[in-house]
């Protein structure tokens, strides 16, 4: 159990490519942190630097109160779960779990006890004498988890551990990882490109883009108050609608269409407006509204996603299946549900109280590089 402090860490490859740019994250003891971002955003590189599989070019990583920049991976007191499990194919499940302990000179009785405990927790007791090739993907994933658990490390590192599983198994394993982590209370750093996985697992999310942190925050805060258009379009499914518009007085202009935003303009001129699909509703008669030209509909059962265009720009609305849909729809949105972003930098412009559940939304710390 330990806190992890990542301070101004950079990764610069030979040739000058900077994969991670001065990233700082303070992870509390027992916290579950998820690094999320598109491929190539540097999330895996960051994790591998913490693991000791990549050298740290600049900055420091502390686990507990120990700077581990130059400590061997085996001595960092961490355990890692790999995407393709990385089990030792020539060892039985028991030996896979016991290997790390044996190398540390743990007494045999202690090893037996710990392996038995981990096997019981993960329900892999009946497979202990098998080799990994005789196991299914889900079972292998459990063994990989077990290998991390038996070590009782200060921190778990997960490198997209669920990507190789099928969709159904992924959901159930996700739940198990979450519960297990809560039960063990071990500080965890988890890398994924799947925003849903990130939302459901994380105590706090770290959204990375191009080697830099876009936003750190609790999943709902990130969802409701995205710090930039990148975060807005990355977190949440369907992605947040982003429309270019112009603000004049207390009105928003999207080409020929106009939306009343109630309050006076704090930032006139061109602007990017973010609208969550589920915040759109059918306009009442006489109400000012956007006219959506419907192109196609995705039925999801509980709701339906209506895709179309507003003044030639793509827009998706999530509506109840009971609502009949014609060729066009009049859509309205509560002004406080709108998100405003700088048209050039994509940064969030103001903090309208956007939380749908009425919770207070904190100003989010946006880590500047």
């Amino acid at each position: 159990m330990a806190a992890i402090n990542i301070t101004n860490v950079s990764k610069i490859y030979a040739g000058g490519v900077e994969a991670v740019k001065s990233v700082s994250i303070d992870i509390e003891d027992g916290e579950f942190i998820v690094l999320v971002g598109p491929s190539g955003c540097g999330k895996s590189t960051l994790l591998r630097m913490v693991a000791g599989l990549e050298a740290i070019s600049k900055g420091t990583v502390e686990i507990g109160d120990r700077v581990i920049n130059d400590v061997e991976p085996a001595e960092r007191d961490i355990a890692m779960v790999f995407q393709n499990y990385a089990l030792y194919p020539h060892m039985t499940v028991y030996n896979n779990l016991a290997y790390g302990l044996k190398n540390r000179g743990t007494p045999k009785a202690e090893i037996d006890a710990r392996v038995a405990e981990a096997a019981r927790m993960l329900e892999i007791e009946q497979y202990l004498t098998r080799k990994p090739r005789a196991l299914s993907g889900g079972q292998r994933q459990r063994v990989a988890m077990g290998r991390a658990i038996v070590r009782k490390p200060a921190a778990f590192l997960f490198d997209e551990p669920l990507s190789n599983l099928d969709a159904k198994l992924r959901v159930s394993m996700r739940g198990e990882i979450k519960q297990l982590q809560k039960r063990l209370g071990t500080t965890s750093l988890y890398v994924t490109h799947d925003q849903l996985e990130a939302m459901t697992l994380a105590d706090r999310l770290v959204v990375l883009n191009g080697g830099q942190i876009e936003q750190i925050g609790r999943p709902l805060d990130v969802y409701h108050t995205p710090a930039s258009t990148f975060v807005a379009s990355f977190i949440g499914s369907p992605a947040m609608n982003l429309l270019r518009g112009t603000r004049e007085g207390n009105q928003l202009h999207f080409g020929s269409q106009v939306l009343d935003v109630g309050r006076a303009a704090a930032f006139p001129g061109p602007i990017t407006v973010g609208i969550r699909a589920e915040d759109l509703r059918i306009a009442n008669t006489g109400e000012q509204a956007l006219t959506l030209k419907v192109e196609y509909i995705e039925e999801l059962g509980a709701q339906r996603l209506v895709h179309g265009t507003v003044d030639g720009k793509k827009l998706t609305a999530s509506l109840s299946p009971e609502i009949g849909i014609g060729e066009t729809l009049s859509l309205s949105i509560a002004p406080e549900r709108l998100h405003f972003f700088d048209a050039d930098t994509g940064k969030r412009l103001a903090q309208p109280s956007a939380a749908s559940d009425g919770k207070r939304v904190e100003m989010l710390a946006i880590a500047e590089a």
Partner: protein, 309 residues
């Protein structure tokens, strides 16, 4: 087109999804025929011939032959000279196999660890393999030459008066060194590709589980290399027994009779120099039996410990 028909009707659970069915019963035999012909002409037929002539005493000038039963075998097995050569062959094979495997593995592990300029290293190490065995023998001879050989000079520096071609042990030493040197690149290639076949993530997992690089090698890397190593063990044993012929021939030809030779060279000497076809055939049958037993032993007792992925 060729009368092949993939069995698509089979359910996927039936393991062998790749099995091909033939429309004509003759076709598979036709496909097998070239391979079978080669095996028959170059292996079975000579083997049968060898077994046959090992029971006869052949006239050196080709005027008929006399049936002598097992006399050729008993003569060979009673001969002190033959047993001495057999002993040397065993030592020679064991040493050549061991050192060519060990050095090949060591170089492969080191080359695999090199990050910068590793292509150059690999090319330099593989190069030697392109040299034909007699040329390797010749080069070896020059290295061990009494007058110009650099290795002889090095040995002299340490007070070792090396006389390759005259002194039995010195010749044996030179033969082993040249044979090992010749085989290292072959082993290197296979070990290197074997190492590169080990998943990176497994190595990384080991890196987090085990601090000592030496221990990691013995507990994770080597077991995963075992299929490659086992294959090379068989290939190298065969190499040391048979394919070193060229090296030995160059090193001992025209030299005094007191030089070490291996069994296969003895077969050649007796058969083609001594014109004793019967005795030579008996020897090659014995050699065949030795290789047969050795291969069975290797498959029965060593392969069992090999993990195939």
């Amino acid at each position: 087109m060729l009368g092949l028909n993939k069995s698509a009707s089979k359910p996927p659970e039936e393991t062998d999804a790749k099995r091909v069915q033939f429309n004509s019963r003759l076709l598979p035999y036709l496909f097998l025929a070239p391979q079978m012909a080669i095996i028959f002409i170059f292996f079975y037929w000579p083997s049968v011939q060898a077994i046959h002539s090992s029971f006869y005493l052949e006239d050196p000038f080709g005027f008929g032959s006399t049936f002598v039963g097992l006399a050729n075998y008993t003569d060979v097995l009673k001969s002190g000279e033959y047993l001495g050569i057999a002993r040397f062959t065993a030592v020679f094979t064991a040493l050549v196999t061991f050192f060519s495997l060990a050095i090949g593995l060591l170089l492969a592990v080191k080359a695999d660890g090199v990050i910068r300029g590793n292509a150059t290293y690999k090319t330099l190490l593989i190069w030697v393999y392109a040299i034909a065995p007699p040329v390797a023998g010749l080069m070896g001879m020059m290295m061990f030459d009494q007058h110009i050989g650099p290795l002889v000079k090095v040995a002299a520096f340490f007070g070792w008066d090396m006389k390759v071609g005259l002194n039995y042990n010195d010749t044996a030493f030179a033969m082993i060194v040249v044979s090992v040197w010749k085989q290292i690149p072959y082993n290197f290639i296979f070990f290197l590709s074997g190492l590169q076949g080990i998943p990176v993530s497994v190595r990384e997992a080991a890196l987090m589980d085990c601090r000592s690089g030496f221990r990691r090698f013995w507990t994770v890397i080597l077991p995963l290399l075992a299929p490659t190593a086992f294959f090379l063990l068989i290939i190298n044993t065969t190499y040391a027994l048979f394919d070193t012929f060229g090296v030995i021939d160059v090193m001992v030809k025209d030299k005094a009779a007191n030089n070490p030779i291996t069994l296969v060279y003895k077969v050649y000497m007796d058969g083609f120099r001594g014109n004793d076809l019967g005795g030579s055939s008996a020897q090659s049958v014995i050699l065949m039996i030795i290789v047969f037993v050795l291969t069975i032993f290797q498959f029965r007792f060593i392969e069992r410990r090999v993990h195939y992925n």
